[in-house]
């Protein structure tokens, strides 16, 4: 037992006890505690096992910089791994467990890793396992299990995450002395201010400072009362992006008041914040000093110890050795003493300290010119060795001092992360031995400790300046000391606790030739853990500089990227998950189709009727029946998903002439033409029909999936390329419902219900359109066929679509009308050899599709030149063919590769199967495909081989027009 609860003090509410479970044992604390402070108060020291060596670890810090105490938070079936105990608030019913240990924290078998010399040094995995038989791929699985962090839950995250936008004049990041001052000043100037603080309370370091409480209380009261300031606590500014857009993550659960997450309420809120001005008052973090055994539970930062005492009323131990290279640690002496902690020694590496410091250490054993050379104790600190140090070298033998805590201060590091998220390089301040925010965008300013103004009054004064400037000199006397060289056999000295990177790893990387800090980082993994090296980056950089014999900024700087602290993926996704992830479009016939028992399929954004099973039918039975019934009688299919674009203006024909490959100047009013559109590079983009409704009025249809692309393409051309063309385009896809009525009896059926227009072959020939009425509703009827049957496409204003559908359906009863879905639609178009998605796959040219006759040579159009590039016109390019399995019962699948008989099965083959189906009309399996030299190979047998399962099927090459090649049925 070491840490303990003090009888009084702290900002905790002792009238509100809170209970949690840690590794199955109950731990109690109070509202206002963190899990870390509650565990410290319970006397527990070992809270974690380290990443690689499974060494026992305890608390080092009191805030976001904590590298060791990471837990899995368990809530029902969900597990949030790698949660920092120092920022997780204690609340009733909380369940946390330690990570990366087996079988338990106290006895971890994997700690054997720690006793094997040389194991897990920098590059160990690769050097060792790459050359072993079986290699990395095999060993990686085992290694990943042994070396690791917490395990995420395997179930979908049931938590809800909110997303909100926030706009303000001034965003102040950090609620310490500088941030509070800056926020109040900006608000007093009439600006709309948002102040964000990641902690549960405002005050920053001032919360740990013994005499700051009255000032802090007053400041907080003024800020809370100010109408111009919105305060967001428990809210981390996680990332800074272009145009002063900051990502804030606000925690809404795991607080003493709100308790465990309620699945009906958001667990966290992601604020997308835009501010005219951003003030970074992000403060500074204390850094440690590297020495042998410095990871023993009980070695912690001096400011953290003061924080636990002042904020939570918990003492970290009973007998302390204070080890410092600077004046700030002396401020903690009175705090420690107030908690009744005995200070065994104050060890300062500086040969001389100021009178002020000597005064603060009065009555204590002050050992100047000395350093802690080694921490003794594995599961808990037993004591430290203290030796004389001069010029960074330990002189002579070291003495021993018993203690249960060793409190280290290696100086302060400004929290500059946000200032460099957008790529601003930090500026090195030699006198401060630290990087400061670099030359930021003028809308940003920093103030306070992040600029090196360490002390509270300095930070406040700095925040009050019009344009706060960085500290010119260090207000805290210090002597650089990053590392106390370890004596031989003294054990490992850690730089990065979270990734178990030691001082000797860094030197090993240097010996092996890693001179760039970026390579050193990746080789040793220094600073690459979840804490992104908050406590280790600068130390590692300084040690690398020492190896290279150069100045720190010459070696490099650290690069910070968002997020500052981890952000749950769920919070980034926010409400955009499940069905809300993307839009879902439904046609006007959805309700009717549903009532008819349709099975739906999502194609692109559209939900479409796939097939209409009758009792006991599966998809195979259903689509075959539907296709048969259409060809035998009449069928009705929803084609509302076709993209529809209205074009208007005197230059429309010219415009169509430029975007389609075929000619449009001769299209008469009342007629429809099929067209193919190419991309700028000559590849086929989309196909569809365009009808001329009036002299200057056209209606284009596109494929269902290509509608958005084509619309954007047309708008781009009209706005940026040919603004002189007098054409206006409007998307009207959703304004019209459409059905295809197909089959030999379709005309007869329509004639029963259509008024206002004749429908016979002379009045309405193939590729003509008419305006008519069905049950008093105006409709447009196109005589068009995709199925190859006599067929009509009927377009109805969407609001009347259901009504017209019902009328058609009722009239169709006596013709034995059938509904058919996209599956049988696909079957019939393959029987006809019409190209669709499988063929228009972004790789095919108009010639590949056998549609070269549509490529006009009389005009230029988009893609007209580049489609003739030699590679695209090569004779051996795969070209559209029909494919019939030699055994008609053998099923072909799209994506199967085609090879000549007897040819080596190598590479991509000579072509591919693009669309395959059972053909009810031919009573056999058929397919469309693209085959090299295709049209000259009709009658040849080739082999279709699946690269997935190796199936081989002999197929005969045929014309792609399997059924009614002369088109007698559609012209009927």
């Amino acid at each position: 037992m070491s840490g303990f609860r003090l009888p009084s003090g702290g900002q905790i509410d002792r009238s509100r006890p809170m209970r949690m479970t840690f590794d199955g044992q109950e731990v109690t604390g109070f509202a206002g505690d963190t899990v870390a402070s509650a565990l410290m108060a319970s006397g527990r020291r070992v809270l974690a096992r380290s990443f690689k060596y499974h060494r026992p670890r305890g608390l080092v810090g009191v805030g976001v910089d904590e590298p060791n105490a990471l837990f899995e938070v368990v809530n029902g079936a969900t597990v949030d791994p790698n949660t920092r105990a120092t920022t997780l608030e204690l609340c009733d019913g909380l369940t946390v467990r330690s990570q990366n240990r087996w079988p338990s924290l106290g006895f971890d078998l994997m700690s054997l890793n720690d006793w094997v010399p040389g194991i897990f040094s920098a590059g160990f995995y690769y050097k060792t396992f790459m050359s072993l038989p079986g290699g990395w791929m095999f060993y990686e699985r085992i290694i990943r299990r042994a070396a690791g962090m917490g395990q995420a839950g395997r179930l979908p995250d049931p938590a809800r995450y909110d997303r909100a936008h926030l706009y303000c004049d001034v965003l102040v990041v950090g609620g310490g002395p500088a941030g509070l001052t800056a926020a109040l000043k900006a608000a007093d100037d009439g600006r709309d201010v948002v102040l964000v603080e990641q902690d549960m309370a405002l005050g920053g370091q001032a919360q740990s400072e013994p005499n700051a409480a009255p000032w802090l209380r007053d400041m907080i009261a003024r800020i809370m009362a100010h109408t111009g300031i919105t305060v967001l606590t428990r809210c981390t500014a996680a990332g800074d992006y272009d145009d002063r857009t900051l990502m804030l993550l606000e925690r809404l659960s795991y607080t003493p008041d709100k308790g465990l997450p309620d699945l009906d309420a958001p667990q966290a809120r992601l604020w997308i914040t835009r501010a005219d001005q951003v003030i970074l008052a992000t403060g500074a973090m204390e850094r440690s000093i590297v020495f042998a055994g410095n990871d023993a539970p009980g070695v912690m930062l001096a400011s953290a110890a003061a924080g636990y005492i002042q904020r939570y009323g918990v003492a970290p131990g009973r007998r302390a050795v204070l080890f410092t290279n600077n004046d700030s640690a002396y401020d903690q002496i009175s705090v420690l003493q107030s908690a009744g902690i005995e200070i065994a020694a104050v060890v300062d590496c500086r040969p001389v300290v100021s009178g002020n410091c000597a005064e603060k250490a009065r009555g204590l054993w002050l050992r100047t010119g000395h350093a802690v050379t080694q921490a003794i104790g594995r599961h808990a600190l037993q004591g430290v060795r203290i030796g004389r140090i001069s010029g960074g070298v330990v002189q002579g033998p070291a003495g021993y001092e018993a203690c249960d805590i060793c409190l280290v201060s290696g100086g302060w590091t400004p929290t500059i992360h946000l200032s460099s998220h957008r790529g601003t390089r930090p500026a090195y301040a030699r006198d401060l031995q630290a990087f400061l925010p670099g030359d930021m965008d003028p809308a940003y300013r920093a103030c306070g400790a992040v600029l090196g103004h360490w002390r509270r009054q300095e930070a406040i004064n700095n925040a009050l300046e019009m344009a706060p400037t960085p500290a010119q000199s260090c207000s805290i006397d210090h002597m650089p000391l990053w590392e106390v060289p370890a004596a031989k056999g003294a054990g490992k000295a850690f730089v990065d606790f979270q990734h178990d990177v030691t001082a000797s790893d860094i030197r090993l990387a240097h010996r092996e030739g890693f001179v760039s800090v970026e390579h050193m980082k990746r080789y040793t993994t220094l600073g690459m853990a979840g804490d992104q090296g908050k406590t280790s980056n600068l130390t590692g950089l300084a040690m690398m500089s020492a190896c290279l014999g150069q100045d720190l900024p010459q070696t490099g700087t650290t690069t910070f990227r968002p997020p500052f602290t981890p952000v749950p993926i769920g919070a980034l996704a926010g409400p955009d998950r499940g069905g809300a992830h993307t839009l879902l479009r439904r046609t006007p016939f959805r309700a009717l189709d549903k009532a008819a028992g349709a099975v739906f399929v999502n194609l692109g954004h559209w939900q479409r009727a796939w097939y209409y099973p009758r009792e006991n039918e599966d998809i195979e039975d259903a689509y075959k029946r539907e296709a048969r019934d259409v060809r035998a009688g009449v069928g009705l299919c929803d084609v509302s998903t076709l993209g529809k674009i209205a074009l208007k203006g005197p230059d429309t024909a010219e415009f169509l002439n430029r975007v389609y490959t075929n000619g449009w100047k001769t299209l008469r009013v009342g007629y429809v033409r099929y067209g193919l559109m190419l991309r700028e590079d000559g590849i086929v983009m989309d196909d569809g029909t365009t009808a001329r409704l009036g002299p200057d009025e056209y209606l284009m249809t596109t494929t269902s999936g290509g509608a958005g692309k084509v619309m954007t393409h047309l708008e781009y051309l009209l706005d940026t390329q040919w603004p002189d063309l007098r054409v206006h385009v409007t998307s009207v896809t959703d304004q019209w419902g459409g059905v295809s009525l197909a089959g030999p009896k379709s005309r007869e059926l329509l004639q029963c219900i259509v008024t206002g227009s004749a429908l016979d072959g002379t009045a309405l020939p193939h590729m003509a359109l008419t305006h008519a009425e069905i049950a008093d509703t105006p409709v447009r009827i196109y005589r068009l066929s995709f199925s190859g049957e006599l067929a009509y496409e009927i377009f109805v204003p969407a609001g009347y679509a259901e009504h017209v559908y019902k009328v058609i359906w009722a009239a169709g009863k006596k013709f034995n009308i059938t509904r058919y879905g996209v599956e049988s639609l696909g079957t019939m178009r393959i029987e006809k050899g019409h190209v669709a998605g499988g063929e228009l796959d972004g790789r095919t040219t108009i010639f590949d599709l056998g549609l070269g006759a549509m490529a006009s040579s009389k005009k230029g159009y988009i893609g007209s030149v580049l489609q003739h590039r030699p590679g695209l016109r090569s004779v051996d390019r795969p070209t559209l063919v029909g494919l019939m399995p030699v055994d008609p019962m053998q099923r072909l699948t799209g994506g199967t590769l085609l090879y000549s008989e007897g040819a080596a099965v190598l590479g991509p083959g000579e072509g591919r199967v693009s669309s395959a189906t059972w053909s009810p009309a031919l009573n056999r399996h058929i397919a469309l495909g693209l085959l090299a030299n295709g049209p000259s190979r009709y009658g040849e047998t080739v082999v279709a081989i699946s690269a997935v399962d190796g199936t081989r099927i002999d197929v005969t090459v045929t014309s792609p027009h399997f059924f009614d090649p002369e088109g007698e049925r559609q012209y009927a």
Partner: protein, 87 residues
Amino acid sequence: MRIRCPFCGERGLEEFSPKGDAAPTRPALSNKDPEAWHSFVHLRENPKGQHREYFQHSGGCRAWLIVTRDTRTHNILDVTLARQEKR
């Protein structure tokens, strides 16, 4: 990033779709020289600094814009209507 659409005002980047370099000039449709078309379709400068690019306000008024952006900072220096500029 924010883009000030001349019609709609300042809007978030998520409302816009980029198309890329606005510099290349389309050859006349009667031009049959593949090199001219190759250059127009495929060849692009990759400047460090100011870059004029097409963006469509696809989630808004659907106008095509020419946005001058500094590729180093993503600062947007100018936004104009393509239709106006190209006339």
